[in-house]
Amino acid sequence: MTSVALQQGRVRAGFRESRALLLSALAVLVLLVSLVALGLGATGVPLSRTLSIVTDAVMGRTSALGGDGLIILQVRLPRLLLGLLIGAALASSGALMQGLFRNPLADPGLIGVSAGAALAAATTIVLGDALLAPLIGPLPFTILPIGAFTGGLLTTLALYLVATRNGRTSIATMLLAGVAFGALSGAVMGLFSYLSDDRQLRDLSFWSLGSLSGATWAKTMTVLPFILPTLLATPFLARGLNALALGEAEAFHLGVPVQRVKALAILLVAVAVGASVAAAGMIVFVGIVVPHVLRLMAGADHRMLLPASALLGAALLVAADTVARTIVAPAELPIGILTAAIGAPFFLWLLLRRPGGMAL
């Protein structure tokens, strides 16, 4: 029994410490990246000044704000918050989707959920302009998250239905169906860009490339109620997803309400990805890179993976956005280009080092 007691102590201490340590380290990382992101840009603001501006604003002392204060509070802060929200949403959605499909290669961007959401948003832009604008005037921004969310939900459901036979979800079918959905939405996007005028064309390319530019407080606040519930709800799915990793039958044997967990995960992914796509277009690979790195570092337990993914995703996207808007200043690189340029080679490396080759 001594060996059991020893081992028990070691395992328990190890798990608790590493989990708390990792989550606090990630929280510190988010904070650091955020401060750097606020200070960097066309107008550089020193760290001490950034801090005093933010504390002034929080304390309600807005009278002493100069030009740099306005830049930070009206331009960079909403963009920072939007980046944090979307990064957290994309990475959590990736982790949820991978848990749901029991496969580390599932990603909302990869299997066409983002494409479905972007297509729905594009439809809203092009057809909404033509059909609704004469009736109700300029469209409110809120309609885009709703449209994108509907698109994301429908695509996720369709994928799930196509890939599931007799209660078993085939990952190969799901990936192939995702390719088909992606191609289909690509074709319709192409049709839209063929039909659209100059302004709509610019909006469309924004959707397909992804960018955090154009972040405003209004936009950030519109997206917040869509993403926050998803982030808050994910920890409650952790146990169900852990059991689901063994298989649906095994999860049922362990007392998990499998259908409810699956339905909730699909809904959360659709809401979070829909809102993200509506606000920033398609940003791929964050959802696959972040959970994978964390699994390598700290294991697969979803009780750790889900909150850690949200934190690392937030930090990563803000860091990428900071690079995107400073590297070719005063112009800006769409962030989707950056994440794809980093994410695609990473994904290939992932495929190459998988034990057992390419089996799905």
Partner: protein
């Protein structure tokens, strides 16, 4: 011994074929029951019906008179544990984490350290405690099976805090185990039956089944051929009819097992 599980007129179809076709069955606590039969006889399907994983097309399974489909999944998980044939994991869970899945969300009044103790004890019982920090994905087939046995034992131990009467289902639990661990696992299963659990296993090895079971259930083409003590079921005429092989059954009461091809 009163019936813990009672199945009446169970029918299950898949793809237009009746995999289980009108089976009546009662199972009592304290008994080690082994389901045998040739490939495709419906053994695993029957097991999955009895543990509530599949809903029958006709008939019903009752747990102490309560219909199985009406019992919520979480409560069922306290009453019975199921060891599957094989289970892939695509994520790098450690062996300890897999065993711990048996205790997550199961049991009443258990602290976190209680749950960890139960998982570790189960790992010891299944002879895989030394693998606790290892990545499950790097284990051999036999080691994986033992880890799942540990997970199932941990689930039973945690569930015992809420439900006194439990059942253990094993679907071909020894398929990839070496001889030592085959005997150890089935021995543990039989000990559980001695402690009052209803233990139901699907097994291919007739010799082991004959040695260990209190009762055998012989299936053929979805129907129950016969049930009873091993020597009443494993008669040469029955074996010839169901398995299509001629065997000589001979009782050697002093030997724990014998390896004598007919």
């Amino acid at each position: 011994m009163s019936a813990l599980l009672e199945a009446t007129d169970l029918v299950y179809h898949s793809g237009g074929k009746a995999l289980v076709d009108g089976i009546d069955l009662t199972l009592a606590g304290g008994s080690f029951t082994i389901i045998i039969g040739p490939n495709g006889a419906g053994k695993s399907t029957l097991l999955r019906l009895l543990c509530g994983e599949l809903a029958p097309a006709r008939g019903a399974v009752r747990w102490n008179g309560e219909k199985l489909q009406a019992i919520p999944a979480w409560r069922l998980a306290h009453r019975r544990a199921v060891m599957p044939q094989a289970s892939d994991l695509n994520f790098p869970f450690t062996v300890f984490e897999v065993a711990s899945l048996g205790t997550q969300g199961i049991g009443r009044g258990l602290s976190r350290s209680d749950r960890q103790r139960l998982a570790l004890e189960a790992l010891e019982q299944a002879d895989v405690a030394h693998l606790a920090p290892r990545n499950y994905q790097t284990l051999s087939g036999g080691e994986r099976q033992r880890v799942h046995f540990a997970r199932v034992l941990a689930q039973l131990a945690a569930g015992r805090t809420l439900e006194a009467q439990q059942a253990l289902f094993l679907d071909e639990p020894i398929a990839s185990l070496d001889l030592k661990h085959q005997l150890a696992l089935l021995g543990t299963a039989r000990d559980f039956a001695r402690q009052g659990l209803a233990v139901i296993a699907v097994l291919h090895d007739l010799q082991l089944a004959a040695d260990l079971a209190d009762e055998l259930i012989l299936l053929h083409e979805g129907c129950l051929v016969t049930r009873g003590t091993p020597d009443s079921v494993l008669t040469p005429p029955t074996l010839a009819r169901v398995f299509g092989v001629t065997l000589h059954a001979s009782a050697l009461p002093t030997s724990p097992w014998m390896l004598v091809p007919a």
